[in-house]
């Protein structure tokens, strides 16, 4: 798997299809220099709710489950993220702790960028910043859909027991 960690964004064949990754050559070059790619095993946790945000995670392949958790340990899956998605973005930008937990459902290649580097990168590259704004808008739309279905979608009936 060593060769995989050398993976460059510049040579990535899937890049043009992906919302975030489809950057201009110059921006991409800078992004490539900041990121480091690691192979993660299925079931590993990229970040956990409540942890301080240290950076972002770009899923190069594989899927990740995004969930929220209650104090009593109950889980609620928000959605399943697919290849090309950027995870931990809102926490990295807001500078607080992660609001959700991301757990990998497959063995996956994940590119990480440290928070400090990301902020500098976004300040320097307007194009990437616009992409990020678009991504966040989409995330927000999905989150509001979830709020809608949870808050208004069902009547007051007994909820089915959840499997932990």
């Amino acid at each position: 798997m060593e060769s995989a960690s050398e993976r460059s964004c510049l040579a990535c064949a899937e890049r043009p299809e992906r919302l975030f990754c489809d950057l201009s050559p110059e921006t991409l070059h800078d992004f490539d220099a900041l990121k480091s790619v690691t192979t993660w095993a299925r079931g590993s946790t990229l970040f956990r709710e409540g942890q301080p945000a240290r950076g972002i995670f770009v899923l190069c392949d594989g899927r990740a489950k995004l969930s929220v958790c209650s104090e009593s340990g109950k889980n609620l899956t928000l959605r399943i993220a697919g290849p090309g998605e950027v995870l931990g973005l809102s926490a990295a930008l807001a500078g607080g702790s992660h609001e959700i937990t991301a757990e990998l459902l497959d063995n996956a290649q994940v590119a990480t960028v440290k928070r400090k580097d990301l902020l500098r990168f976004l300040h320097e590259h307007r194009e990437a910043c616009l992409q990020v704004v678009n991504l966040l808008s989409q995330d927000l739309h999905i989150a509001y859909d979830r709020v809608r279905s949870l808050g208004l979608g069902r009547s007051r009936r007994v909820r089915a027991p959840r499997v932990h």
Binding site: L78, L89, C129, Y144, L150, L152
Partner: protein, 240 residues
């Protein structure tokens, strides 16, 4: 001077005194100058609807003064309040950026001053000013975090009591009240509105408040709510 709805309208962002305290408005001079030329300062009375869920996005609304209720609505008319927005917040942001319909309904709770920017102008503004773009990303991140919070509270709470206790703790954590032994909350909301914030009925909220008062957990003095027993409230919030 006669002012609309008793509001002291801030006509220019350049001379606004509260600008520096606000996440979005604290822009560098060049960006602020451009923003000033594309925004329209407007005043709305209490109860005015800025935009409706499902409407095609016209632009963004920067809330300068007053509070705005952001809600989503079911087809049967049931309403859920997602958030009460405070001054400095940008409303309609994600819809304006993505071009998808507004996902919330925004209704003013007080007389408000709102600075409106048309969608095309705003998108051009973001392309030209990376600082503004960054601030938008920050605002969206915060909104996303709030939405996740809402999902957690709606999806993982068992009872209405648990949700009400959580809401009261949240409200009392603002304005430096959290550290106090008996935090005070200025509840400028009706029981109906509180019910819509936690996804329950008005009757349940009234019953829960009566119960909390009886158990000496909270006390009301006019529209101010005093949390007498923080520990008990926290116990209810965590379902213990």
């Amino acid at each position: 001077m006669l002012s609309p709805y008793g509001l002291d309208i801030i006509e220019s962002c350049l001379t606004c005194k509260t600008r520096t305290e606000r996440l979005f408005c604290d822009l560098p001079a060049a960006a602020l100058q451009t923003f000033e030329s594309i925004k329209y300062a407007t005043a709305y009375p209490k109860g005015a609807v800025l935009f409706v869920e499902g409407q095609a996005p016209r632009g963004i609304f920067v809330l300068c003064k007053g509070r705005v209720k952001l809600s989503i609505c079911a087809t049967d008319g049931k309403t859920l309040i997602v958030k009460i927005a405070d001054p400095g917040e940008v409303l309609g942001l994600s819809a304006t950026v993505s071009g998808k319909p507004y996902e919330l309904t925004a209704e003013t709770l007080d007389p408000c001053q709102v600075n409106f920017v048309k969608r095309e102008d705003f998108l051009r503004f973001l392309k030209e000013h990376s600082d503004a773009c960054f601030k938008v990303a920050e605002q969206l991140s915060e909104k996303y975090n709030t939405a996740c919070h809402e999902v957690r509270s709606l999806g993982l709470s068992h009872s209405a009591g648990e949700k009400l206790a959580k809401l009261l703790i949240e409200l009392s954590s603002k304005n430096g009240e959290a550290a106090k032994q008996e935090p005070r909350v200025k509840l400028a909301l009706t029981h109906e509105e509180i019910a819509q914030m936690i996804g329950t009925s008005r009757e349940t909220v009234t019953r829960l408040f009566a119960d909390f008062k009886k158990r000496q957990i909270v006390q009301t003095k006019g529209s101010t709510l005093v949390i007498r027993n923080k520990t008990a409230l926290r116990m209810i919030a965590t379902n213990n």
